[in-house]
């Protein structure tokens, strides 16, 4: 109603990394990733991510910073684990 999507604190959907820019530890040209988000491209910072992503990986983003990286294989594996959990219900 009054709240725009971008004002929400957490965006839960992993976003695909299209390009890596900048350098780790360089604050003038900070390490960041260009990600695909709801049809547009945005840049997110990589300062606090658990593992630097590569092109093709997925990241979970919070307030403009990536917080978690998932490779395609990891995404697939976690999906299988999830399906297993549901099947075991």
């Amino acid at each position: 109603m009054f709240i725009k999507e971008k004002e929400r604190m957490c965006l839960a959907v992993p976003m695909e990394v299209l390009e890596i820019k900048g350098k780790e530890g360089d604050f003038l040209d900070p390490h960041r990733a260009v990600v695909k988000a709801q049809g547009t491209k945005v840049e997110v910072r990589l300062d606090i991510v658990d593992r630097p992503p590569e092109k093709g990986d997925y990241v979970i983003v919070h307030a403009g910073f990536a917080i978690h990286t998932l490779s395609k294989q990891e995404a697939k594996k976690s999906l299988e684990l999830f399906e297993d959990m549901v099947k075991n219900v």
């Binding site: 109603m1 004002e7 959907v13 695909k36 307030a63 917080i67 959990m85 219900v89």
Partner: protein, 365 residues
């Protein structure tokens, strides 16, 4: 991207889980979700309509704006009244009433208030406006604090003099500990926050689970995620075997995100903090370390405020402690609405009252 979320929204899975959940509820049970994004997702997906009578979901202190104390709000209003100050804030905070109005009202009267999506954008504002003092209002838990810490480190490295941060950051485990000490709480299980857990890891809930024999499940935000989380809580309750289960493995490693925690603790130190509804909790907040003291807006603008009571009749404090639901509040949907909010739970997009108003007003539960 839609195929990435499909299994988490699969109707077949939803039906299976809803049936399994019904079979596990044989007495009244109360589960708490402690993440504002969960509160919203539960309403948006209509999860309550899938649950059997006797299974109640209540919201905990997981909406960062809602737990911000009246004193902090009043200090923020004072900061906004300083002529050279530009307030940079997440959108949620601008309509929360302090004792003397909201930031939105202050802006209408000439104060400089800018909405930003990221703390890095606030630093960008400071670079663009060297003649102004940009103050970022830092609210949020373990997920947001590292993003602010990284921004403060950048400000220091780039020698940006006109940037500072007013830290209202809070830590989740100490608040849960304080909440669980209330013997009347009557919570049977805890749906742990998703992205706070990405940072602190599932390991962070083990002491709480052990101390209070509290079933804990970390869940994601899609319908199947949430139902799976509820199902695992009910299983633990049935077997009387409290443990920490991670049902959100695609985002939450056991040890969390050590890099983010390290960045956070380079800039911040634990301090006592006041939570709306819960009062003062030891070591439950984050203050800026002396090494970065130059960027501490609390030091740069050392205002004192008179402690004032929270708004009369407002039950936000009780709602945050799961002692009341929004419809129990005499102001809910009468004097207090999203257009004219009285308490913070009605303002924030993650607030329980706001979610009830938008989605749940016509439900009986």
């Amino acid at each position: 991207m839609s195929n990435k979320t499909k299994p988490f929204q699969d109707k077949k899975h939803v039906d299976t889980l809803a049936k399994a959940i019904k079979a596990l509820v044989s007495r009244p049970l109360k589960l708490m979700e402690v993440c504002g994004t969960h509160t919203m997702a539960i309403f948006r997906h209509g999860i309550r309509s899938l649950l059997p009578d006797g299974l109640e979901l209540v919201s905990g202190p997981g909406c960062p704006v809602c737990v911000t104390s009246q004193d902090d709000l009043d200090r923020i209003m004072k900061l906004a009244s300083v002529k050279e100050v530009v307030i940079a804030t997440f959108g949620d905070l601008i309509r929360v009433p302090g004792s003397s109005g909201t930031l939105a009202q202050a802006r209408a009267q000439g104060a400089n208030v800018e909405i930003v999506y990221s703390p890095a954008d606030a630093l960008g504002l400071a670079k663009k406006m060297p003649q102004k003092q940009v103050v970022f209002l830092a609210v949020g838990f373990e997920t947001t604090a590292p993003t602010v810490a990284a921004t403060i480190m950048q400000a220091k490295a780039m020698d940006i003099e006109n940037f500072s941060v007013y830290s209202c950051h809070k830590l989740m485990p100490p608040a849960l500990d304080a909440l669980f000490q209330d013997e009347d709480l009557g919570i049977d299980g805890l749906l742990c926050p998703g992205h706070v857990s990405s940072i602190i890891g599932s390991v962070a809930y083990e002491p709480l689970c052990k101390k209070y024999k509290m079933p804990c499940v970390i869940a994601g935000f899609e319908p199947v995620d949430i139902l799976l989380g509820i199902y695992h809580l009910l299983l633990q309750i049935k077997d009387s075997s409290p443990q920490v289960v991670n049902a959100y493995q695609r985002a939450v490693p056991y040890n969390g995100n050590p890099n983010a925690l390290s960045v956070m603790m380079q800039v911040f130190c634990e301090k006592d903090a006041i939570w709306r509804g819960l009062g003062k909790i030891e070591k439950s907040g984050l203050g800026i370390k002396d090494a970065f003291g130059h960027f501490d807006a609390g030091k740069r603008f050392p205002f004192s405020v008179l402690s004032r009571p929270e708004p009369k009749g407002c039950l936000c404090g009780d709602i945050i402690r799961a002692r009341a639901n929004p419809p129990d509040c005499p102001l809910f949907a009468t004097k207090c609405t999203p257009v004219t909010p009285i308490g913070p739970c009605m303002v924030s997009s993650e607030g329980t009252c706001s979610a009830y108003y938008r989605y749940g007003r016509h439900e009986n539960r």
